[in-house]
Symmetry: C2
Subunit: 117 residues, 2 copies
DNA sequence: AACATATATATGGTTTAACGTATATTGTAA
DNA sequence: TTACAATATACGTTAAACCATATATATGTT
C-alpha cells in the first residue's frame, strides 16, 4: 500500500482518532456504536473521523448487517504498525486511555453479545 | 517530562518538521543553517518550526556562538523515542528523506568543519 | 562603534481542519 | 410498505495552522 508519512501522522494527531485507534489496537475490530459509547462522543463526530481513517487506509472496514466494523489495516507498512504498537504500549495505561478501555469492557460484558443494546 | 500525545503527533504531522526530525534522528545535533540548507527552505520557515518543536520539548537546543544547535530531546518518554526511531528506519530511505541526507552530507564534506560558509 | 552573520519573531493573509446540527442512506424487521 | 436502528454525509461556522515578507535580536569581527 501507499502511505504518506505526513498524512499518517496527521491521522494520529487528533485525540478522537488516536483514542479510537488505541481501542482498535488493543481490542481488534469495533463497530461505530462501540466507539461512540466508549469515547462518549457524538455519532456523527466519530463517523466523520472514522471516514478519514478509512479514506487514508489507516483502517479497513467490514459490514455486518447494520453494523460497520473498523479495524487497523494490517496492510500498513511495518514501521507504521510499529508506531501504533509502540504508542499503544506507551500510553495505553494513561488515565484517558485506560478509562476508554474500561468503559468499552463494561459495555461488552453487559451486552454479552458483541454490540449495542 | 510531560508529553501530550496529541501534541507529539501534531509535531510529526508537518512535513517540514518531520524532515528536520529525521535529519536530527540520524545525524544528531544540527544548526539552523544546516537544516535550512538541507531542506532547501527559507530560514524563517525553518526557525518557526524549530521553535514549535522546542516549545513542546520535542527537541532541545544549545547555543554555540552565533549558532543554535537543535537535537531530539533525549528526555522524551521511551515510547516517543521509539516512534521516532521506528519512523526513521521505516522512511529514511524513501526518496524525499534520502535526498535530504545527501544534501546535508555533501555540505558537511565541503565545509570540512561543522557549519555554514 | 559600525557592520556582518545567524537566528528569531511579528504581521497579515490564506488554507485547512474541526465542530454541531440537520438530514440522508442502508439494512432489518414487522 | 412502513417503521426503526445503525451509520454516513452535508452545511455553515469557528478556530487553528501555515506561509511569505519584513523586521528584530544576538553574537562576533573589524
Amino acid at each position: 500500500m501507499n502511505l504518506n508519512n505526513e498524512t499518517f501522522f496527521k491521522m494520529l494527531s487528533d485525540n478522537t482518532r488516536l483514542r479510537a485507534l488505541m481501542l482498535m489496537q488493543r481490542m481488534g475490530e469495533l463497530c461505530v456504536c462501540e466507539l461512540t459509547h466508549a469515547l462518549n462522543l457524538s455519532q456523527p463526530k466519530i463517523s466523520r473521523h472514522l471516514a478519514q481513517l478509512r479514506e487514508y487506509e489507516i483502517v479497513d472496514t467490514r459490514r455486518d448487517g447494520q453494523w460497520m466494523y473498523y479495524q487497523i489495516n494490517s496492510q500498513l507498512p511495518a514501521w507504521a504498525l510499529g508506531v501504533l504498537q509502540q504508542t499503544s504500549s506507551g500510553i495505553g495505561e494513561t488515565e484517558q486511555f485506560f478509562s476508554d478501555f474500561s468503559v468499552l469492557n463494561d459495555m461488552i460484558k453487559q451486552t454479552k453479545a458483541s454490540c449495542c443494546s
